[in-house]
Symmetry: C2
DNA sequence: TCCGATTTTGTAGTCGACTGTCAAAGAAGA
DNA sequence: TCTTCTTTGACAGTCGACTACAAAATCGGA
């Protein structure tokens, strides 16, 4: 997608950034968002507090999962790639399954970690609300090629609701496979329709 | 519901409390949550800042909707009151409509005001997340009398998703009627099923 | 190996949320 | 009216998010 990450400088920068965010999310989960200070995050990530603010303008930004768009794009593409006559819910179900199985094990583990943080820590969830809202729009857009406008949006909302519900249940048993749970839930929705 | 609010003391206390919260919500809407200081709220409500903190331990609490459970209970009851052979989605649709039309104009306006705050201000949304999650459970429980377990949960999740979607759209046009939008969206979902 | 550009860090300071305490003002009851 | 209890307000202070800035470390290229 991007340039092949040229210089050492840029690589180091990226590493620093992700390190800071990972430590932040870990600490948020361990001791709560409010109870975690930026100073503690800086210490954990072995950088100066001012460096944290350089990468993340506000504490809240530490909780924003910035790669949701690429995921949403992947889902949109996968939706387009589904067979033409598939029932709508199954289109989304198949697309989501395709995207998840296409992830490398490392990517998938990282994704689960961050999704867990999002679902578990209210402040993180709030920080990502905008993204969820826009993903919902993308999903609806992707479906609009297959069904009339309003129906596409309703379906997208229903699928998002069922998906979030499945993930919420997953948080109570984090050792199960969320992709599996999601697939199963969408299967049930498909039966309902 | 409560005791008839005997003494002058208690009445005055209650009035102070609601005055503070109303001014807070108004200011949040006017200038944003972060940009509003507790001092400004105190000034608007004509009390001392320390008095604000006596009623609301944290700034966030100023925006916590403390009556969501009674609403969820009302919906559960309304679900039970729907005719036996109604299709599941229409049960929920009818129950929600019944609850909203049952509200007095004042109550309804207040509810809209607070729902708008919840959907618009991330911090408030975070503070109320737990309540939304539990409402989802209540909805599923209420439907379980009418359909097998897993289906009830899936349906509840789908309805919650569609409902949140409708409310999210409403925030972009706050002069429209959210209850109307919600009813319409559920009607479309009903058509899909 | 040295230079210029960039990144990192420390420091000093602002602002607002929140706490604790104590004295003043008001209400309830005798 | 006098006493007692509660609510309120003022004040002083802590803590953490965030800013501005200049010094120091680091990197890339010549």
């Amino acid at each position: 997608m991007d340039q092949p990450a040229t210089g050492l400088r840029e690589r180091k920068k990226a590493r620093t950034r992700t390190a800071i965010q990972q430590h932040a999310l870990r600490l948020f989960k361990e001791r709560g968002y409010q109870a975690t200070t930026v100073e503690q995050i800086a210490e954990a990530a072995e950088v100066a507090p001012s460096t944290v603010f350089r990468y993340f303008p506000t504490k809240e930004d530490l909780a924003v999962l910035d790669d949701y768009y690429s995921l949403a794009d992947a889902v949109s593409a996968a939706v387009a790639a589904q067979p033409p006559d598939t029932p709508p819910v199954d289109v989304l179900r198949g697309a989501l399954r395709a995207v998840f199985t296409g992830l490398s094990p490392d990517d998938r583990a990282a994704r689960y970690e961050r999704d867990l943080a999002m679902l578990t820590i209210p402040e993180v969830w709030a920080a990502n609300l905008g993204m969820v809202a826009r993903s919902r729009g993308l999903l609806a857009d992707a479906m609009r090629a297959r069904m009339p406008g309003p129906a596409a949006r309703i379906l997208a909302d229903a699928v998002v609701g069922v998906g979030l519900g499945a993930l919420l249940d997953w948080t109570r048993d984090p050792h199960s496979d969320p992709a599996e749970a999601l697939d199963q839930a969408l299967g049930r929705l498909s039966d309902l329709l």
